[in-house]
């Protein structure tokens, strides 16, 4: 998406404008809070304090952020090749199979650091597999990726219900989920990371897959901007005709990019399954794939934007829960509204204040130039 407005200094572009947008989003959300007769300032306090006020809260925020980094990256990678992968949800869901299989197989005999690599490979492989078919169908048969990935989301949920009720569920257990993994299937928490900052992680499920997410973000950056393949996929994303001219195979790029995208989505499963629940449950993705679309777009499909966007959503989830705890009149549905408003104002309406800010900068620039002149004279 092009940026139709005059260039602003970087700090304004990437700092001030998003900040203003966020503030406005929260102001409007505040109105909604006011509407149900609650104090919006109090809600805002709980939102921010609930997300960052304590080590434990930060841990939760970052736990959610981990999930969204993966799905956001997944969507973003596909975007760069001009593909709209709306199927990260299903790919993450299927990715869970890879994690579960690795854990169920080895958790009793091996330490986590041996199971983890296998689970990573498993999750990425299953996620990639689930994205392969839509990619292949688009490349070879011209099936529109948006439809096929929507369909594959539904197919994934059917498959998972089958697996979790008929295959992976221990007999006699009521819940459609695998058994609980033992030590080998449990990722260590990142308590040490927070303790560097003198924070106590408490019971937050903030775990080592966060580091994997950061690594993945860096990997995606390298892939897109520093590899030959990334160059090729960007070429295709911007101009398929130029790609053909340059001898870039659309088929190959489409399939591989979809698999990378699916693999990233699949790795999301590590966080809730190995990092939090230590089992795979029905519907563990819980919409993270769709949030990933918003995260990717708000992060402008750049890892450096996706990480803060993911943290923002982590904050909405965790801070939102705190509001619901502290202010019983504000239910979880209210939190959904607030999330929507943030997506609207900080995402879709991100340009609303740009002209005004741009003008402010321009007039400020002129004035200071004029001031310099008068001084000179």
């Amino acid at each position: 998406m092009s940026n139709p407005y005059a260039k602003l200094p970087n700090w304004a572009e990437y700092g001030l404008i998003p900040l203003v947008n966020l503030v406005v989003a929260f102001l409007v959300a505040g109105l909604v809070v006011l509407l149900v007769g609650e104090n919006p300032l109090k809600a805002a306090y709980h939102m921010v304090n609930g997300a960052f006020g304590r080590g434990e809260y930060i841990g939760f925020t970052l736990y959610y952020a981990t999930t969204f980094i993966f799905t956001g990256l997944s969507v973003a990678v596909a975007f760069h090749a001009g593909l709209f992968n709306i199927g990260s949800e299903g790919q993450a869901y299927i990715g869970g199979i890879g994690v579960a299989l690795a854990c169920l197989w080895l958790d009793r005999t091996m330490p986590w650091f041996l199971v983890f690599p296998l689970a990573i490979i498993g999750s990425a492989a299953f996620g990639a597999l689930w994205a392969f078919l839509p990619g292949w169908l688009q490349a070879k048969r011209g099936s529109h990726i948006v439809i096929t990935t929507i369909m594959f989301n539904f197919i994934a949920s059917s498959l998972m219900v089958y697996l979790l009720t008929r295959v992976l569920k221990p007999l006699g257990s009521m819940a459609p989920q695998t058994r609980t993994f033992e030590a080998g299937g449990q990722l260590p928490k990142l308590d040490w990371l927070l303790s560097i900052f003198g924070l106590d992680i408490g019971n937050a499920p903030f775990n080592i897959s966060f580091l994997l997410a950061l690594l993945a973000a860096f990997g995606v950056w390298v892939l897109i901007w520093r590899t030959r393949f990334g160059y090729e996929m960007r070429t295709m994303g911007h101009s398929p005709s130029a790609a053909r001219y340059a001898g870039i195979s659309e088929t190959r790029i489409t399939i591989i990019v979809m698999m990378i995208s699916g693999g990233l989505a699949g790795m999301m499963a590590l966080n809730p399954i190995m990092g939090e629940q230590f089992r795979m449950q029905l519907d563990f993705v819980q919409g993270a794939g769709f949030v990933g679309i918003a995260v990717a777009l708000m992060g402008r499909s750049h890892p450096a934007g996706i990480i803060p966007a993911a943290i923002l959503f982590g904050m909405l989830y965790q801070g939102g829960a705190e509001i619901a705890f502290e202010m019983p009149a504000i239910s979880r549905d209210m939190i959904v509204i607030i999330q929507g408003l943030v997506i609207l104002f900080a995402g879709a309406l991100e340009n609303m204040f740009r002209p005004a800010i741009g003008r402010a900068f321009a007039s400020f620039g002129q004035r200071s130039a004029a001031a310099a002149q008068t001084k000179g004279a």
Partner: protein
């Protein structure tokens, strides 16, 4: 005869299930043909279903409900329009945002007004659409073959059902035979051409978005006032996404849309019908396979027969004149 009866029943079900899809996909047709992509069909439909249920419950009038549905849905469309046309924001993000906001607020408002957990009170009588019988439906009921087709399959649907099917040729006519349609299709292909022809791109796109709102209003009202008798939270259950898929499947053409929606509806009806019944040759299969069947078959159809769908050229791209 039994088989025939089953087919009739399946097709009846197909019609019922495809109506909201047709409304929503036609809604998408109008905006997307004008170059504004809309992933927020789901949210608009949900908002409309809620407004319809709520207002019909309060006023006891189904038409008041319908009107409210259209109003709310148009309002949401205008939000989408403001974000993506006036503010030139990302159309996808705006659509996602609307889905979120509606999902949350229908429950909150419903609970605040009716204290039934986000549901609206059950409707009956005038607060709900009644089915219509075509003339002589009863009389010809027992005529072999024709009887069931006429009095079961064609007769006995809601006003909105007939409207949905009528809207297919009407939409076609609007798009291909009126000035508005010509301009609307043009603005989705090359807004520059429209602009230099002295037509306002922005106003045109707003009108397209409003059309989308109206049609989503029908879709939502159909769900809560015809198919069901009241609103239940999240009752669209992904139909907006299916409608979007149908729209693409249909390559953004009205008649194809009807076919695509009927196919989706039929597959759905078939999957319901087959659940629990053994398949010939294969025998009993897991329920989940049956439930996935419509989606699997869609993918197969798509891969086998449909070919490339080329979206409106200017779709998804905000119109920027001066950079």
């Amino acid at each position: 005869m039994d088989f025939f009866h089953t087919i009739i029943a399946l097709l009846e079900s197909t019609i019922r299930v495809s109506v909201p899809l047709i409304f929503a996909a036609l809604a998408g047709l109008f905006t997307e043909r004008a170059g504004v992509f809309d992933i927020g069909l789901e949210g608009k439909m949900l908002g409309a279903a809620f407004a319809a249920g709520a207002v019909a419950a309060v006023t006891g009038s189904v038409f008041a409900g319908l009107l409210a549905a259209i109003l709310i849905s148009v309002l949401l469309s205008l939000v989408h329009g403001y974000a993506s046309i006036t503010q030139r924001g990302s159309q996808i993000v705006s659509g996602v945002a609307i889905n979120f906001v509606v999902a949350g607020s229908t429950v909150i408002l419903g609970e605040a007004w009716f204290r039934q957990g986000g549901r609206t009170p059950a409707l009956s009588g005038d607060a709900r659409f009644q089915t219509w019988n075509l003339p002589f439906a009863d009389a010809v009921k027992d005529v072999p073959i024709f009887g069931p087709i006429y009095s079961n399959l064609l007769s006995g649907h809601f006003l909105l059902t007939y409207l949905a099917f009528a809207l297919v040729p009407i939409s076609w006519w609007i798009l291909y035979r009126t000035r508005f349609g010509l301009r609307l299709r043009a603005v989705g292909e090359n807004p520059g051409a429209v602009d230099t022809a002295g037509i306002s791109v922005i106003w045109l796109r707003y009108r397209a978005v409003i059309c989308c709102g109206i049609l989503c209003g029908f879709a939502g009202a159909y769900l809560s006032l015809a198919m069901s008798a009241g609103f239940v939270k999240g009752m669209t259950a992904g139909k907006g996404y299916i409608a979007l898929a149908a729209l693409i499947f249909a390559k953004w053409r009205p008649l194809n849309i009807m076919l695509a929606c009927l196919i989706f509806g039929f597959l759905d009806a078939l999957a319901i019908r087959l659940q629990g019944n053994p398949l010939p040759l294969i025998g009993q299969v897991p329920v989940q396979l049956m439930q996935a069947l419509p989606y699997i078959l869609t993918v197969i159809l798509l891969a086998g027969f449909i070919g490339k769908a080329i979206p409106p050229k200017a779709g998804g791209i905000p119109y920027v004149k001066e950079r």
